[in-house]
Each structure stands twice: as structure tokens, then as C-alpha cells.
């Protein structure tokens, strides 16, 4: 018993000893606090205030002050891992010894790669995007620019590098003709991006700018992923989801439309139907064109999007439209001076694309299949002319993301193109099977220096020719907000199909680009200057043995070869400021181009008629908070263009007067019974300037006609109603 008692006491004593031992073991550590002090800086030694410095696995730590200095106490002894983190920087970790106080620990953090400290390849590209911070425009800029008439190519005409040619559709880039620019929708070439071309009338684009989340306008030196464009590509990327769930109504002086969007978790559908008739507008706005049947059109489109997997997106887009019009166009070579045109057009375009990525984004797939078909039934003074074209294309691009943001992509595309031209019942057909393969790599040598190297190879069956086109681009970051870029490359395009009916032994036309760019984007201000040299080679020349025929609608019947050549050189600059004045956004563009060519029927080298040496545009946008109104004004200046004067011995020496245009646009948001309504009104050519785009002469050379815009001062009003649109809208809705 006693033994037991003793043993219990001993146990107790032992336990107490153990307890105190433990206490002793613990308490010195608690009492002996060590202090750690130091400074956190970036690689250049600039203090980082607000950085978090702590011992990993403990609560001990502190925040750096305005001088980047930190100080804290810890009860840890021995060794510990000190960690430092700061927003936008890589986490720093280091083992430290805590036997003694640390008085001056110097920690240098490495900045994470971000949009500001990493160079972006930009030469020749002008982007409108919501997603990329480096983009110079937002998709909304396209619809809110006065003078652009909510037309994508209309807005692009105000960008640096573009020349305005008032009587033709298309994008004329840096001395290139409208045909030298291809419009690409989700990677697929759009065969008929504009409504059918009319004599001396600029046709609108077929696409609604709200369809796109991003637009990239290349002024040259573009990627090996695209081809068949000597000057430029305009890349349009459709949105991945619907913008407005429910029904919308659009009403304006020219058309009425309905659109309906429906979305659930993984799928969405958008449907659009419209009917348009320009008669009411033409009643109100005096026309310079004699319309017999004002343009009347109807159309519909359907978009379906599906997310079958986490990153996969399938988009199917289909549209159909037809139009009917009739006009008396000026024809200097006919006795009456007029020629009656009747045009009926049917156009269908479908495209489906599938994109996906695997292995944490290391592999990305972009694929597509598209079909387009266009039919113009025309009669010119009673003679039937039919135009028909169809294009089936498929495309596949595989991109591999390598370490350090480097990428390599491989891709291929194949097109089947059928073209027909009918003259009074006789159909002339042309068939082209075109294939291309390309590989391109983006290499980041450092955060400040990057390059893109690509090569594209193409084959066209109609001319039985293949080519290999290298593309190269470099960018170097000169400062936190600025960089210089260089781009060079070779670009091939098939000759105009009209030449190929008679001569299939022609070769591709070629352009070589060299572009040097400097840009600085800081604090919502952007400055960009680009200079370029473009060499044209293998251009098609036509020999008729007769005097120059200035009729733009003539069919080229002469002998042809690839003996043409030319150049374009110049520079352009862009300045945008969204900061200096509150709610005011303005940008200024100036483009200079000097160009000469020996091509088509030219007997010797001359500046082509679509070239204007100077293009200036000033665009301003102001938001009035109280009135919920966005006001935009645009001034555009285009210097005189050459025109053919048969009375002048010097070929294309005459110049038209310069073109001036001031336009304004206002849009106002209003809520009517809980539905959002946007009203808009525009006045184009407010000063009623009698602009002349070019002159045409009668065959005897005695009389000349001026070709100007469809109307001088004109206005347009309309509204967009979004039914059952949830509240929560503001300035943001523009």
C-alpha cells in the first residue's frame, strides 16, 4: 500500500517534473522574441510599400511602410522561412537563421509578367478589343463614331493607314486598292463582306458591329495565318455569348428589325430578321443618284453557340439576305449620259467554328468550315449580266504553348471557289481550288524583346502556281509604357479574277512590306507612329493597243502579263486622349502615303486614282451624364486624288479638290416602362460641302462629270428597343 502510495507520489513528481520541463522548454521561446527588420524593393531598388513579409507557417509578420521598410517580432527560434509577397510580383522565399535579431534584411522582388512589363507584337496591327488592355479601340468605338454610320469598315476608314475613297466600298490601306484587303470572320475569309457594288456608290458592310467582341485591323506585315491580301486583313471575332436576353426591336428611317436572344448555361441562340427600304429616307434626303427603285432588302441571321466541354466553344452562324434596286447611273459614253441598272442580289453565308483547349491551355485548337454563295442578277440598259460566286472553305489551326509564353502554331486551309459571269445568257466560269499551310512561332527572348517568325505556303489551281511567303516581326520594349516594333514580310494575292478568264498563265501579284512602329500607351493616352515601305511586284499589266479607258466597269480584254510593279511609302500617326477632359474622348489620325504603280492599262508609272496623299481625321466623343446622351463629332479630310483627264498629255496628273466632311451623331438612353430604349440621330456632311470624289469624261473629252457622294448633307434617325431588359444600365450601355 505504502509502496503504492510512494509510487503514486513519485509518479506525480515525475509528472510535475515533466510538466515543468515542458514549461521550461516552452517559455524561454515565448519570452525571447527576436526582431526582424529589413526593406523590400523591386529589382531596380524602388521601395515597395504595402508588401507582406512574414515567417511561413506562423502568424508573425508585418507590412512594409512607405519606404518599403518592415519590422516585426517573432517567437520562433532556430531557422524559419521568410516570405515576402506583393501584388503583381513573384513571391519571395528564403531560409533565415533566427539565433539573433536580424537588422537589415534586403529583399528584392521580381515582377510578374504582365501587360505592362511584357512586350506585345504590334507593328501593323490596330486592335479594338475589350479583353486586351493594349487595344487602342473598344468595340463600342465603332458604333459611337460619327461618320462611320455604325459600319465596321466605315469606322476603320478613320484609322491610321486607311485612305478614304468615297465612291467605292472596301478598305484602302497604305496605297493598296480595296481588293487588297481581306475581311476575315473567326478565321474564315468573307467572300462578299459588302452589299453588292454599285456604280459610284459606296456599299455598306453586311455585318452588324454588335456581333463582334474584337476587331483587329492590320495595316500590313500581318501574320502567316492569313493570306491572299496584298495590303491588309481585317479580323473580326464574334462574341461568345448573347448580349441581351430577350426580344429587341430596331426601327430607323431605312429598316425595321427584330432580334431575339436566348441563353441557358451552355447554349445560346440569337436570331435576327429585318426588312429595309430606303424610299422613306430618300424622300427626306435629297439624292444625287437617280433611283428608279430605291434599295429594298430583307434578311435574317441565326447564331447558335454551344459549350460542350469546359473550354470548347462551337459557334454556328448563318445568314441570308436579298436585295433589289434600280438606278440610272451616269454613263459618260452613252448618248443620254445615263445607263439604267437593275440589280437583284441573293447572298448566303454560313460559318461554323469550333475552338477548344487542352492540358491547361498548352494546346489550343481553332477549326472552321464555311460556305458562302452570292448571286447578282443585273441588267444594264436591258442587257443581262449575272455574277455568281461561291466559296467553301475549311481551316484548322493548332497552337502549342511552350514554356515562357512562347508559342508555335501550325495550320492549314483549303478553299473551293467557283465564279461565274454571265453576259446575255452566256455563262463564263472559273474554278479555283486553293490550299495553304502555315507555321508560325512567337518567341519571347526576354520580357522586353519578342519576335514572331512565320512562313506561309499557298497553291492556287486556277493559275497552277505555288508560293512561299515569309513573315517576320519583332518588338522591343523601350520603357514601361512604350515600345518599338518592326515587321516585314511577303504577301501574295491571285490576280483579279476578271483577268483570269482570258489568261490563266498569270502569276500571283506580290507585295513586300517593311514597317517600323513606335507607340506609347500611358494613363489613357495613346501615341503611335508608324512608317512603312511597300514594294509591289508581279502586278498584272494589260495591253490593249488603244488609249487608256477610264471606264471603271470595263471588262479587261487586252493581253496581260505580270510585268507591273510599284511602291507605296509613307507614315501615319495616331493620338488618343481619354483622360485630359472628363467624359471627353478624342483621337486624331494623320496618314501620309506616296505611291506609284505601273499596272492595269497604265502605259507608265503613275499614282493610282484611289490614292490620296493626306488623310486626316479628328474624332471626338463626349458623354453628358445628366442627359444620358453621347455626342460624337468627326471631321475627316482627304486630299485630292488623281483622275484621268484625256485632254492632259501627262497621264493621271490632275487632282480632284480635297474632300471635307464634318458629321455628328447623338445617342440617348431612355427607359420607357422599364424597357431600355436607345435613340440615335446623325447628320453627315453638316456643312453641306459639295465634295467631289472623281471626274469622268465623255469619249470626246469635252464634258466631264463630277462623281460625288450619294447625297450631300444627310441625316438619319432611329431607335433600338430592348424589351424586358433588366434595369442597371447607364453610360455603360454605349
Amino acid at each position: 500500500m505504502a509502496n503504492r502510495f510512494v509510487s503514486a507520489v513519485t509518479h506525480n513528481l515525475l509528472a510535475m517534473k515533466l510538466f515543468y520541463c515542458l514549461l521550461l522548454f516552452v517559455s524561454p521561446a515565448v519570452l525571447a522574441q527576436k526582431s526582424i527588420q529589413g526593406k523590400v524593393t523591386d529589382q531596380k531598388g524602388n521601395a515597395l510599400p504595402g508588401a507582406n513579409v512574414f515567417l511561413k507557417g506562423t502568424y508573425d509578420g508585418g507590412t512594409t511602410d512607405a519606404n518599403g521598410v518592415f519590422a516585426f517580432q517573432t517567437s520562433e527560434s532556430d531557422t524559419a522561412t521568410i516570405a515576402a509577397s506583393y501584388v503583381g510580383f513573384e513571391v519571395f522565399e528564403k531560409k533565415i537563421n533566427l539565433k539573433e535579431n536580424i537588422a537589415a534584411l534586403s529583399i528584392r522582388l521580381e515582377e510578374l509578367a504582365n501587360e505592362l512589363n511584357t512586350v506585345v507584337i504590334t507593328a501593323g496591327a490596330f486592335e479594338a478589343s475589350d479583353e486586351k488592355r493594349m487595344a487602342m479601340l473598344k468595340p463600342l468605338d465603332i458604333v459611337t463614331t460619327a461618320g462611320a454610320a455604325a459600319d465596321i469598315t466605315g469606322a476603320m476608314q478613320f484609322l491610321p493607314g486607311a485612305q478614304r475613297v468615297g465612291e467605292q466600298e472596301g478598305l484602302f490601306v497604305r496605297g493598296g486598292s480595296g481588293q487588297e484587303t481581306k475581311i476575315v470572320l473567326d478565321g474564315m475569309i468573307v467572300q462578299n463582306p459588302f452589299f453588292s457594288s454599285l456604280p459610284d456608290v459606296q456599299s455598306r458592310g453586311r455585318f452588324n458591329p454588335f456581333m463582334f467582341k474584337g476587331t483587329s485591323f492590320s495595316t500590313g506585315g500581318y501574320s502567316a495565318q492569313y493570306g491572299q491580301a496584298l495590303s491588309s486583313v481585317l479580323l473580326l471575332n464574334t462574341t461568345d455569348k448573347v448580349s441581351n436576353n430577350g426580344l429587341g426591336i430596331s426601327l430607323n428611317l431605312a429598316n425595321a428589325g427584330l432580334n431575339y436572344d436566348y441563353a441557358n448555361k451552355n447554349q445560346s441562340v440569337s436570331a435576327v430578321v429585318y426588312y429595309g427600304n430606303l424610299r422613306p429616307l430618300f424622300k427626306l434626303v435629297k439624292q444625287n443618284v437617280e433611283w428608279i427603285h430605291a434599295p429594298e432588302f430583307e434578311g435574317s441571321s441565326l447564331t447558335y453557340r454551344w459549350k460542350p466541354t469546359k473550354n470548347g466553344v462551337l459557334k454556328v452562324y448563318g445568314m441570308y439576305s436579298d436585295s433589289h434596286l434600280s438606278m440610272d447611273s451616269r454613263n459618260p459614253s452613252s448618248e443620254s449620259g445615263k445607263m439604267r441598272l437593275v440589280l437583284k442580289n441573293n447572298n448566303a453565308f454560313t460559318t461554323s467554328t469550333y475552338t477548344d483547349s487542352w492540358a491547361d491551355g498548352r494546346w489550343t485548337l481553332n477549326s472552321g468550315l464555311s460556305y458562302s454563295r452570292n448571286k447578282d442578277k443585273m441588267t444594264w440598259d436591258g442587257v443581262n449580266f449575272d455574277r455568281f460566286d461561291e466559296r467553301t472553305q475549311t481551316r484548322l489551326v493548332l497552337t502549342r504553348l511552350l514554356t515562357g509564353n512562347n508559342t508555335i502554331l501550325f495550320g492549314a486551309e483549303a478553299h473551293a471557289i467557283n465564279i461565274g459571269n454571265g453576259v446575255d445568257g452566256t455563262l463564263h466560269k472559273l474554278k479555283d481550288r486553293y490550299a495553304a499551310a502555315f507555321v508560325e512561332s512567337e518567341i519571347y527572348i526576354s520580357r522586353a524583346l519578342a519576335g514572331r517568325v512565320g512562313v506561309r505556303s499557298e497553291y492556287s489551281s486556277v493559275i497552277s502556281r505555288a508560293n512561299i511567303a515569309p513573315r517576320l516581326s519583332f518588338a522591343y520594349k523601350t520603357g514601361r509604357y512604350s515600345q518599338i516594333s518592326l515587321a516585314a514580310g511577303q504577301f501574295y494575292q491571285n490576280p483579279d479574277y476578271r483577268y483570269l478568264y482570258l489568261n490563266k498563265s498569270l502569276r500571283n501579284e506580290r507585295a513586300d512590306h517593311l514597317i517600323l512602329n513606335y507607340q506609347i500607351i500611358k494613363n489613357q493616352r495613346t501615341f503611335r507612329v508608324e512608317t512603312f515601305y511597300k514594294n509591289y511586284a508581279q502586278l498584272v499589266r494589260e495591253f490593249t493597243g488603244q488609249p487608256f479607258d477610264a471606264d471603271p466597269y470595263r471588262f479587261p480584254w487586252g493581253a496581260t502579263n505580270n510585268g507591273g510593279e510599284g511602291y507605296a511609302r509613307g507614315f501615319d500617326f495616331f493620338w488618343r486622349d481619354q483622360k485630359s477632359i472628363k467624359n471627353l474622348d478624342y483621337w486624331v489620325t494623320y496618314s501620309f502615303v506616296d505611291s506609284k504603280r505601273l499596272f492595269q492599262q497604265y502605259a507608265h508609272s503613275a499614282t493610282p486614282t484611289f490614292i490620296s496623299n493626306h488623310n486626316i481625321s479628328l474624332i471626338t466623343k463626349k458623354w453628358f451624364e445628366k442627359a444620358k446622351t453621347n455626342l460624337s463629332a468627326t471631321y475627316a479630310f482627304t486630299s485630292g486624288r488623281p483622275y484621268y483627264n484625256p485632254n492632259n498629255d501627262e497621264f493621271l496628273k490632275d487632282r480632284t479638290p480635297a474632300v471635307h466632311n464634318v458629321s455628328i451623331q447623338a445617342s440617348k438612353l431612355q427607359s420607357i416602362k422599364g424597357n431600355l430604349v436607345i435613340f440615335y440621330a446623325t447628320v453627315d456632311n453638316i456643312l453641306n460641302t459639295r465634295n467631289v470624289f472623281t471626274y469622268r469624261y465623255t469619249p470626246d473629252g469635252r464634258t466631264r462629270y463630277a462623281v460625288g457622294p450619294q447625297s450631300y448633307r444627310s441625316f438619319f434617325v432611329g431607335m433600338q428597343i430592348m424589351l424586358s431588359r433588366k434595369a442597371k444600365v447607364e453610360k455603360d450601355d454605349f
Partner: protein
């Protein structure tokens, strides 16, 4: 016997240490939450917010199994996304909040209404940073996150507070305004009065703001 006793003692000591650890965690969290509460909501000081965010991040690093420290760190970064002077800085904080929220979701392991609500709040502040260009994407996200929060726990008052605040700051012409926000804020107030946070350190913000907004609607 001896062995058993030592064992028991060690057990008591060990649980005591665990308890002490828990208490330390709770205390550190409460201290952080109190610091957050002490912030002047009408004019939040970015420096203190950074300090608070850092504090929660340190706790988070030491307690890898707790989602709440990351939650509060994300919350502080959302507030920073509101007060930071430039768009670039705002976005850095908001991106950081997003990253913290992702990590918190990983720790929580199952759908969590508070995390969905904070994601909605993050989208709201992200939208406010550049409304012109973000209303479309962020507006949709905001609604989506609140919907999923509702499907997890429709009783969470912060869902209705955020919905109400969004209406509160929308001009009357567009179906928003103080009057339109009132019923939603009243609903939030009602839910707040019934709401009990799971523990003292679980999210419990928004009541004060709801009441302030309600006082403005009269």
C-alpha cells in the same frame, strides 16, 4: 499505470496546445475582422486595407486548411479594388481577390454561398472600375454568382444587400434608384435580422451598409 498516466498527461498537454492553437487562430481572425470593421467605410484608407489583407494572408499561409482567412484577404482586396486610384492598380487587387477566392474554394471543397457572394461583389467592383467596357460581361457574372449563392442558401442576407445596392446606385431612369432599391434592401434587412453567422469569425458584413442605404431611401 505509469505509462498510462504519462500518456494521459501528454494527451492533456497536446489537446491544450491544440486548443491554444485554435484560440490563437480565432483571436488572430477576430483581431483582423475588428480591424476591418474599424475601417471608415465612407473613406477607406488603402494602407490599412493592405495591412489587413496582409494579416489575413499570413494567417492563411499558416492555416492551410481554413478558407476563412483567404476569404477575408479576398474581401480586403475587393475593397482595395474600389479605393485604388488607377485602373491598373484596381485590376491588380481585383485579380488578386479572384486568385484568393479560387484558393478558398479549393479549401472549402464544396459550394459555398459566402464565396459566391464575394465573387459577385468582386464582379460588381470590377465593373465599377471601367463600366463603359465591362458592364456587359461583369453584369452577367454578378447576376450569375448571386443566382448560384441563392441556390446554395437563399437565406443569406448579403445576396439581397448586393442586389439592393446595385439598384441603389442605378439611376431612376433605368429602373434603379433609391425607391426601386427599397424593397430589396428591406428584404435584406429582414434576412439580416434572422441571420446568425456560423461562428463569430464567419462572414457577417453588410448589415450596417443595408441600414445606411435604407435610411437614404426615405
Amino acid at each position: 499505470m505509469k505509462r498510462l498516466f504519462t500518456f494521459a498527461l501528454l494527451f492533456v498537454l497536446a489537446t491544450g496546445m491544440v486548443w491554444a492553437q485554435n484560440e490563437k487562430y480565432t483571436k488572430a481572425m477576430s483581431d483582423g475582422i475588428n480591424a476591418l470593421l474599424a475601417i471608415d467605410r465612407s473613406n477607406p484608407d488603402p494602407k490599412s486595407l493592405v495591412e489587413i489583407s496582409n494579416r489575413f494572408e499570413r494567417i492563411a499561409a499558416a492555416e492551410p486548411k481554413e478558407w476563412l482567412p483567404k476569404y477575408y484577404a479576398a474581401y480586403a482586396n475587393v475593397l482595395l479594388g474600389f479605393v485604388a486610384p488607377t485602373l491598373n492598380e484596381k485590376d491588380q487587387y481585383l485579380d488578386k481577390a479572384n486568385a484568393l477566392l479560387k484558393e478558398a474554394e479549393g479549401i472549402a471543397g464544396k459550394p459555398n454561398d459566402e464565396l459566391e457572394i464575394l465573387k459577385a461583389y468582386q464582379s460588381q467592383i470590377h465593373l465599377a472600375a471601367d463600366p463603359m467596357n465591362r458592364w456587359q460581361t461583369d453584369g452577367e457574372k454578378f447576376q450569375g454568382f448571386l443566382q448560384s449563392a441563392k441556390s446554395i442558401n437563399a437565406e443569406n442576407p448579403r445576396i439581397y444587400y448586393l442586389e439592393g445596392s446595385s439598384l441603389f446606385f442605378t439611376p431612376e431612369e433605368y429602373g434603379g434608384g433609391k425607391k426601386a432599391a427599397k424593397p430589396m434592401l428591406e428584404k435584406a434587412q429582414q434576412k439580416f435580422s434572422a441571420f446568425k453567422p456560423e461562428t463569430a469569425i464567419h462572414p457577417d458584413w453588410g448589415k450596417m451598409e443595408t441600414e445606411w442605404m435604407l435610411s437614404q431611401t426615405n
